[in-house]
Symmetry: C2
């Protein structure tokens, strides 16, 4: 009964071997895609995403997207936004506050209306329609951030507007998703508990807004005045682990209250940035920022199932959803930013277009709630990947002048 | 039916939130334990392990050891041994080769005999007896390495002997474990396929030895002569990701052929070390070496279940097994190293004593095979933790003079 080879690689050890192999294959493929795309003058994250498609179930089938890879992908975008936060001063965001608010709000309202309109036009029922709206709402600031870093324009006004708008966008997206889940759940049970839902949504929205305000304002001020919290007599070595602990703590807290983890990571980065004169923290975070994010980009590609998109009807639906998603987000964000001037407003609009992992997460929730079927799931994932692949080359051609 | 709070933290997002929270709690606790133990003049890894005991199921129950934490723990010891490899030249190991071989062999034979003798004395059946022997065999070089780094003696002769012996030890431990699993499996089915087993074990042992020899000799030579493989025109940025890819690749390969992943990581570190004159690789690996290993040490503590050890009989058995495990390993390794002189041989002997994660893995395999019951599992885990906590203070007091 004992297979001749089995005893030598026992169960627990075999699991570890397979997971190490997956991590190795994903990192190798992402790095190869990155290098190749740099060489041909294309955005490296596009190369990493396509590498994920290549090694994933769609093409070679070397790697399946599983729980451990999902956690690495999540830490990838967490460390990416932590890095972006490290490069951002709260004063930069405050300066563009009004425009960012407008971009965030209009960039949510139009895509939601577009998604709901599209769902109604296709004759879907209420739950599915609202979910399609929700899936079109959220921006993946991770993708845009990586391109902004790549182009060296993170400090420019349009870039700061995108970052500020992304925070507003995520709070609104949380509300829209909560409403969508409530409606889908209510439909399923025939009992929409509207009163409870509204109260619960208001409470959690207030909590989320308070969290952002508290750490963005109070946290950054605290670090300005007490940078030694991260080092000095209390911590004997480098400030890296204390900084990473702040990052994981705020990311976990944001996720626990229903916000995206990356909002917490971004706030943590801005807090730690206030101590930069005192510690060489960026040099130490850089290797974590090099190691984790490739898992995030490759994972987006891993989740795409090209087989599901193979028939003409699905492809047509994908094209339609992608056009609506891109056009409404671009129009909404552009409207909000139009005071900045045409080219910069367009840059902001394009920067808000990628749906990345956020669209995929929303589609997954809709599938669990029973209102998104397999075809629509594949279409939303396809739209997320398509908007994510479209934006980087466009951003590159619209690249604003760097400050100073 | 829809709970008022559930919609706001949907399934996938809630999982991510919980895992981020676990990672945050483990890293915070480990760092706190580390800082506290440094302050009171004790080895910091002991503080990290005890922090794991504190937050784990034994005491506070804040964190359960799960798959994701296990992967982080594994990467912790992988990056730890990669770091040790970076600090080691293959010529250092070759110099102590003969002694290391003796230490490795005698440090396996005596503990195995001790475990089998103990099992027979306790009246256990054949499968259990052999497994007890296997559990007493393997050294956790991760624990000792961390202490050697901490003491600043990684470059000394006794330290290099320990590292070389650990490689031998792991190959022999793989054989012993394979035999034990074969016997346990054969007992279970009543059909020990001795012929197949022996062939299979010989093949895999030859493969393992060839793997180690190929990368230790050929790999390091390749890197000496072609350091640009990790950088220069082919890789545009830093050599970090190529180096990490080599590390993960060899770790995964070692694990796939039944060796410990850390053997592969150690060989990868030695290969990359040969390019050190050309790239500032250590500065870039240091943050990964700071981030991951605390998960390894804390995880050892998380796996300890003090509740299972609460009765006098079990405690007595734990004391007996721990004494046999420590005494036989110390005696075997000391015998092998006695040519180095009394104090240094004693240092080598103590350095081989910690069983760490390796004992726990073997116990888990025995439990799966049905020959290790709950009590004996808890005892072996307890022995692994006890030998791991014993060694660091002893090594500190025996600390050899640093070279040069």
């Amino acid at each position: 009964m004992v297979d001749a080879m089995i005893p030598l690689v026992p169960l627990a050890a075999a699991d570890v071997a397979d997971i190490l192999t997956d991590l190795f294959v994903v990192l190798l493929a992402a790095k190869a895609g990155d290098e190749l795309f740099k060489r041909i003058g294309q955005p490296s994250i596009v190369g990493e995403i396509l590498a994920g498609v290549l090694i994933g179930p769609s093409v070679l089938g070397l790697v399946e997207p599983g729980e451990v890879l999902e956690v690495f992908a999540e830490l990838g975008v967490v460390f990416l936004l932590f890095w972006v936060g490290l490069e951002t001063r709260i004063s930069d965001i405050r300066e563009v506050g009004r425009t960012a608010l407008l971009v965030g709000v209009l960039g949510v309202v139009l895509p939601f209306a577009g998604g709901v309109g599209l769902g109604a036009g296709l004759g879907e029922d209420g739950g599915t329609t609202v979910f399609l709206g929700a899936a079109l709402v959220a921006t993946s600031v991770g993708i845009t951030s990586a391109v902004l870093i790549d182009l060296g324009v993170l400090g420019t006004r349009p870039s700061r507007t995108i970052l500020g708008a992304a925070v507003i966008d995520d709070i609104l997206a949380m509300i829209v998703l909560a409403v969508a889940v409530g409606i889908a759940g209510g439909e399923g049970t025939g009992a929409p508990q509207v009163g409870n839902e509204v109260t619960s949504i208001l409470v959690v929205t207030a909590l989320a807004a308070a969290f952002v305000a508290f750490f963005a304002l109070g946290g950054t001020r605290l670090m300005q005045h007490r940078p030694q919290i991260l080092k000095a007599p209390r911590f004997s070595e480098s400030p890296l682990l204390p900084a990473v602990i702040v990052c994981l703590g705020l990311a976990a807290f944001a996720a626990q209250i229903g916000l995206a983890a990356i909002i917490g990571a971004f706030l943590a980065g801005m807090m730690v940035a206030e101590t930069k004169e005192h510690h060489p923290i960026e040099d130490e975070v850089a290797p974590l920022y090099a190691f984790f994010p490739p898992f995030f980009f490759a994972f987006i590609g891993l989740e795409l199932d090209l087989g599901e998109l193979a028939d003409a009807e699905t492809l047509g639906l994908l094209a339609l959803v992608t056009v609506v998603a891109a056009a409404t987000k671009l129009a909404g964000a552009w409207l909000g930013a139009r005071g900045m001037g045409g080219r910069e407003a367009l840059f902001v609009g394009v920067g808000m277009v990628p749906r990345g992992e956020v669209g995929i997460i929303v589609a997954g929730i809709g599938q669990t709630a029973g209102v998104i079927d397999e075809q629509l799931f594949a279409v939303i994932v396809g739209m997320s990947v398509a908007t994510t692949l479209l934006a980087p080359p466009l951003l590159r051609s619209l690249r604003p002048a760097t400050p100073g």
